[in-house]
């Protein structure tokens, strides 16, 4: 793993307007799904992002890809040539960039441009996305070959049929798909095979960065293991960086170099995998880890008791957002937002008592 930063996220904020219709007026409330998140992702590394449902982890992934617009903050993509600020790129610039990046989603991504080849040479940063549900993310009316080829055509990267065919076959082989099956339609495949098609589609443009949003959560354990191994192999071969979003901590531990833990729109801890799993500093991380049931009859299962439920992000608690459920909460936790600090090399945590938490 090289040390150079690929994506730099600075104070990212994403707000949604929630409109409630009252009798004579519409009430607008702001939901801060992501509230000031900063981290970086290096070339060829996997960053795991865990958190419970509603913590905003999917929104972080989407905002980095600019599939939704961040309200504030910067997402800087360090291409080999020049840095690009994704959060501030305007519509025209973004449209051009999406083509260059071969992004699978987005309104600007579907036109074929004559410029693409020139731009491609000048500019090679690319990113894409693998979704959770391999059943609903593949168009049932397209053949597997067309599905995998679509990002190439949509991004205007290739126009020659033979060239596209060659690239599709190359990536399909890497994803361990049977090349004879490329003419079939998605319904003929099992969940594991479909997820491999989704991965092939995400990687066909040879991106630098792929967001995997709960990509293995819907799969059975043995298939899950297969996909995790495949992602690792593809990373070694192609040097792609992954943002691996999941709620299953043991899978994240297996695949990630570094892991971030999110709680109600904020990062609470970000550290190298070993350090996070074996020396967690934040009480929320500890609670999550204690709640994983281990397939070992000798292991004692004694999950840390968290009072209540995840707070509603519309009315996020003051100070440290975890104070309502934290067993160690003091008065300062209610009053003051804990600072995001580096306790050990590369081990970031936001807790007033992280030093004592050991």
């Amino acid at each position: 793993m090289t040390q150079d930063v690929l994506i730099e996220v600075r104070d990212l904020e994403v707000c949604f307007d929630i409109k409630t219709k009252k009798l004579f007026r519409t009430e607008v409330q702001q939901l801060r799904a992501v509230d000031g998140v900063s981290f970086d992702i290096r070339r060829g590394e996997t960053v795991g992002l865990v958190g419970e449902s509603g913590s905003g982890k999917t929104t972080v992934g989407r905002a980095i890809l600019r599939a939704i617009d961040p309200t504030d903050g910067d997402v800087i993509f360090h291409s080999r040539k020049r840095d690009v600020d994704l959060a501030h790129a305007d519509a025209k610039e973004l449209r051009g960039m999406r083509k260059k990046m071969g992004m699978v989603m987005g309104e600007g991504a579907h036109s074929i441009s004559d410029m693409a080849h020139d731009l491609l040479r000048a500019f090679r940063p690319r990113m894409s996305l693998v979704f959770q549900d391999p059943y609903s993310s593949l168009n049932p009316r397209m053949t597997v070959r067309d599905i995998i080829a679509e990002p190439l055509i949509a991004g205007g990267l290739m126009r020659d049929r033979d060239q596209i065919d060659q690239r599709v076959r190359e990536i399909a082989a890497r994803c361990k798909l049977n090349l004879e099956h490329l003419r079939r339609f998605p319904h003929a495949f099992s969940g594991g095979q479909r997820q491999r098609i989704c991965i092939a589609r995400a990687l066909v443009t040879k991106p630098d960065f792929v967001v995997c949003d709960e990509s293995v959560s819907a799969l059975d354990v043995s298939i899950q293991a297969e996909i995790v191994n495949l992602l690792k192999d593809l990373q070694d071969e192609m040097g792609v960086a992954f943002l691996f979003i999941a709620h299953d901590l043991s899978v994240v531990a297996q695949i990630s170099h570094r892991v971030a833990v999110m709680y109600v729109g904020k990062f609470v801890e970000y550290a190298p995998t070993d350090s996070l799993f074996f020396k967690p500093r934040h009480p929320y991380t500890k609670a999550l880890l204690s709640a994983i049931p281990q397939a070992d009859p000798d292991a004692t299962f004694n999950p840390m008791r968290l009072e209540g439920e995840i707070p509603n992000p519309l009315a996020a608690p003051s100070g440290c957002r975890f104070h309502t459920r934290c067993p160690m909460a003091q008065d300062i936790c209610k009053a003051k937002v804990p600072e995001w600090r580096e306790l050990a090399p590369e081990h970031f945590v936001a807790c007033h008592f992280a030093d004592e938490a050991e």
């Binding site: 419970e52 449902s53 099992s190 969940g191 594991g192 095979q193 059975d220 354990v221 043995s222 298939i223 899950q224 293991a225 297969e226 995790v228 191994n229 690792k232 709620h247 299953d248 901590l249 043991s250 899978v251 531990a253 297996q254 995998t273 070993d274 799993f277 609670a287 999550l288 204690s290 709640a291 994983i292 049931p293 281990q294 397939a295 070992d296 009859p297 292991a299 299962f301 999950p303 008791r305 968290l306 209540g308 439920e309 995840i310």
Partner: protein
């Protein structure tokens, strides 16, 4: 309290007859939990739905199937002989055998309050007034750890969060005080911290009420924590069963071994995961012989792919369906191994 023998279920589909469950036998004792574990399509949900007579119309339960349930009064009921819409099975459903489904949103009616639905279930099985039933419902919601049960009882399902809905679902299932609870993936859709709460709650309630429980899941970690006994299913057959600790420590069937190896563990962070090779065959392309032979690394050519392996008893309540464990083969393998050792010895 419940004994199922030789249960086979087949479905008539457009592509012909498929048999998702074949010759399954298991038993549940009062106060104990039987875990059923298997991948999707292994027939674990279908076989428990047969217990409640909730299978769709195009299904057929084999004639030799025997499902015997001993009810609260100590009478034996042959579930397989009951009519699916008859009065007797309706008395069993809910009152004797409760069920929790995976998706709590789909199993509540969206147009009635939680309280109304619980009161209905309670009054169906007990002769109480509406007021008494409501008090029982509130007490049950309190028991499953829902804060402010007096207020929550008049809420609609959509007003609750996922974890709370699942707890309300458990409260609903327990409101009629069943003697046996079937929980079909009750925690799969929940976050880990909520899952831990629900598992703890179910264990507490089981201790208090002395229920028998069937816990269906694909997560061996959950099974290890909640179930005393486990049955591992693959393509509609039970390949291995026994006390949970024993099965997990010393798995004998190659499929159980593979499944355990495929689980990511925090103890082996940097090791490569070892998936069970190959895909689960589709139900209409059921392999002949042992259903697992297409993916098994230890298969015996000419035996495993032709003949169904017998169920070999390994001890009290412990059995495995694998040719490798049959006495003839085991002794054969041991003789081979001893010969190899003897051949090596003189060389040293």
């Amino acid at each position: 309290m419940l004994k199922v023998e030789n249960l086979s279920i087949s479905f008539q589909t457009d592509e012909g007859m498929i048999t998702p469950v074949q010759n399954v036998s298991f038993a549940v004792q009062a106060g104990r939990t039987l875990g059923i574990v298997g991948e999707s399509g292994s027939g674990k949900s279908v076989s428990t739905k047969a217990l409640m007579k909730l299978l769709p119309g195009n299904s057929r339960v084999s004639d030799e199937a025997r499902m015997t349930y001993t009810d609260k009064a100590g009478r034996e009921v042959r579930i397989d002989q009951l009519r699916p819409k008859g009065r007797d099975i309706r008395r069993l459903r809910g009152g004797e055998i409760g069920m929790i489904f995976q998706e709590p949103m789909a199993s509540f009616s969206p147009v009635y309050t939680i309280g109304n639905q619980m009161i209905e279930a309670i009054r169906l099985h007990q002769k109480v007034t509406k007021k008494e039933a409501r008090a029982q419902a509130i007490a049950m919601l309190d028991k499953v750890g829902i804060s402010n049960p007096v207020g929550r009882v008049d809420q609609y399902p959509h007003e609750m969060s996922g974890g709370m809905r699942q707890r309300a679902m458990i409260a609903l299932a327990l409101a009629a005080r069943p003697a046996l609870l079937i929980a079909d993936e009750p925690t799969t859709a929940l976050d880990v911290t909520i899952q831990a709460q629900v598992l703890e709650l179910m264990a507490d309630l089981q201790r208090d009420l002395g229920m028998g429980m069937i816990f269906i899941t694909h997560d061996l970690g959950v099974i290890a924590q909640v179930a005393q006994d486990v049955a591992v299913m693959y393509l509609g057959t039970i390949v291995e069963s026994g006390p949970t600790a024993d099965v997990i420590r010393n798995p004998r069937h190659p499929y159980t071994q593979g499944l355990l190896k495929a689980i990511p563990s925090l103890d082996a962070l940097h090791d490569r995961l070892s998936p069970v090779p190959g895909d689960i065959p589709s139900p209409n392309e059921r392999p002949t012989g042992c259903p697992f032979h297409t993916r098994c690394s230890q298969r015996l050519q000419g035996l495993c792919d032709q003949q169904l392996p017998p169920t070999v008893p390994l001890g009290p309540n412990r059995s495995v369906a694998c040719w490798l464990e049959t006495p003839e083969h085991r002794t054969g393998a041991e003789v081979d191994a001893q010969q190899q050792i003897k051949q090596q010895e003189p060389a040293q």
